[in-house]
């Protein structure tokens, strides 16, 4: 092997999962304000999505027969809110990664392989996405509750199809995490692939 001569041997670098978790968690903690702005992207998108689904759950509960064009409108709203979520989350995650090219380059100088960098960003964005999606989901739900109470339609609200609501709340959180992780992983992978010299030179 070319990389092995005499007593001098090239080995393998490592990053234990526990340390990866610690580093990601610390990164969120220390940059808390910045992290919350990133999470806010997820939060808004998922709030919109959950509010649309809550509305549908209320209609299901009230046994409203949806007319075809109403059904169309609802589907359209769901698609719209998914798009809003995707754009909002991607944008904030993309910013959060590009701000950190220098850090990525530095990590590689210290011995990180590309995979470590991507791993750290996956964990971090997963945590941020989870928190943002849960807060956003609860927020979207509560807003619709307030609106129904205000309109004196509490009966309709509490008589909603809770099964539908529950599963779709979970979907929404899952979607929030998934989009966040993807939106962070793609730019992080691209940054990690750069030679360290190029990552260090990039100033944003």
């Amino acid at each position: 092997m070319a990389s092995q001569t005499g007593s001098w041997k090239v080995g393998k670098v490592s990053l234990p999962p526990r340390v990866a978790l610690e580093i990601s968690w610390k990164s969120i903690q220390v940059r808390f304000g910045r992290a919350m702005i990133t999470a806010a992207g997820t939060c808004l998108g998922i709030a919109f999505l959950v509010s649309v689904w809550t509305n549908i759950a209320i209609m299901h509960g009230a046994g409203v027969e949806m007319e075809p064009d109403e059904e169309m409108r609802n589907n359209w709203l769901v698609i719209m809110s998914l798009l809003v979520a995707a754009v909002g989350i991607s944008n904030s995650m993309f910013m959060a990664v590009t701000e950190r090219y220098r850090e990525i380059g530095t990590m590689k100088c210290l011995g990180a392989v590309d995979r470590f960098v991507v791993e750290l960003f996956l964990i971090e964005s997963g945590m941020l996405g989870g928190v943002g999606a849960i807060i956003g989901g609860v927020g979207g739900f509560l807003i619709l509750m307030l609106v129904s109470l205000f309109k004196r339609q509490a009966g309709d609200f509490f008589g909603m199809d809770w099964g539908y609501m529950g599963t779709h709340f979970l979907y929404a959180v899952g979607i929030g995490i998934l989009i966040s992780v993807l939106a962070a992983a793609l730019p992080a992978a691209r940054a990690a692939k750069l030679p360290p010299a190029a990552a260090l030179r990039t100033d944003v």
Partner: protein
């Protein structure tokens, strides 16, 4: 076997060798030879200054030797290993264990404390947590920051950050420290302290130091000075030669660039 031994004794002393090292940057339809066929041999334990005006190719050389970028042509050998033959994981190992880097802009990880910055390369190297803490503390104490273990970079002065960077570069007991203009962001006095610290580490630990600079104060303590210009080595001077040349330099002058340009003209 005999051939093997002969080959080893021939290379043994050289921790870095470059052969026809060339880097070409393509910019639009033009190309720039930032490094042009550089042959440079550096012995284990040497303190080398790479001296040259801004844009002469110092950082490019630094990046190639440190495995931070790939040459366009030519090769770099570190401890006899041809860097071009290494895969990504092996390169990472070299960056982790064999080379320590020091930058003009310090490049500490902003969210990590001084101690965490120093233990990170030890994490990658697979050291135990106890070892990491023990070595990390000792290194920070050695560079005079024993009371700043848990400060983050933003809570440290430039000189202190560069000390952390030196300690971090030494984390895994590397063979080589590469420093790219380590004093350029520091005032004159702090810069001198940093250079002296690097020299002490070089003497104490036998680590080879290669420092790119246009600060003539570096010359004083270097074993050899490599003068580069337009991507090529202009001349290599041993310490004794250098002292003669630099006799005429005004030491109070802040701007190293001007002084370098002048001394090059006199040549």
């Amino acid at each position: 076997m005999a051939a093997e031994a002969a080959r080893e004794s021939q290379f043994e002393d050289y921790v870095v060798r470059t052969r026809k090292l060339t880097k070409i940057y393509a910019m639009g339809d033009q190309t720039l030879r930032a490094l042009d066929s550089v042959d440079l041999d550096i012995k284990r334990g040497e303190y080398i200054s790479i001296m040259g005006p801004s844009g002469s190719g110092k950082s490019t050389l630094f990046n190639m030797v440190g495995g931070l970028d790939k040459p366009s042509e030519g090769t770099v050998f570190i401890n006899e290993t041809d860097m071009a033959q290494l895969d990504a994981a092996e390169l990472a190992w070299i960056r982790c264990r064999t080379v320590g880097y020091i930058f003009q802009a310090f490049n500490l990880i902003p969210v990590m404390t001084a101690l965490e910055n120093i233990t990170l390369p030890m994490v990658f190297a697979g050291l135990s947590t106890d070892e990491q803490l023990q070595r990390g503390r000792a290194l920070l104490e050695r560079v005079g920051l024993g009371d700043r273990l848990h400060h983050r970079p933003s809570e440290l002065s430039g000189g202190q950050q560069q000390r952390v960077a030196i300690a971090r570069a030494l984390a895994n007991d590397p063979d080589i420290i590469l420093a790219d203009e380590p004093t350029a962001n520091l005032d004159l006095r702090t810069g001198k302290e940093i250079i002296e610290l690097l020299r002490e580490m070089n003497k104490e630990r036998g680590v080879t130091v290669i420092s790119a600079t246009h600060d003539l104060h570096m010359i004083d303590i270097s074993d050899r000075v490599v003068w580069v210009r337009d991507g090529a080595i202009e001349k290599i001077e041993a310490r004794s030669d250098v002292e003669l040349t630099v006799g005429q330099v005004d030491w109070e002058q802040e701007s190293g660039t001007a002084a370098v340009a002048e001394s090059a003209k006199k040549e």
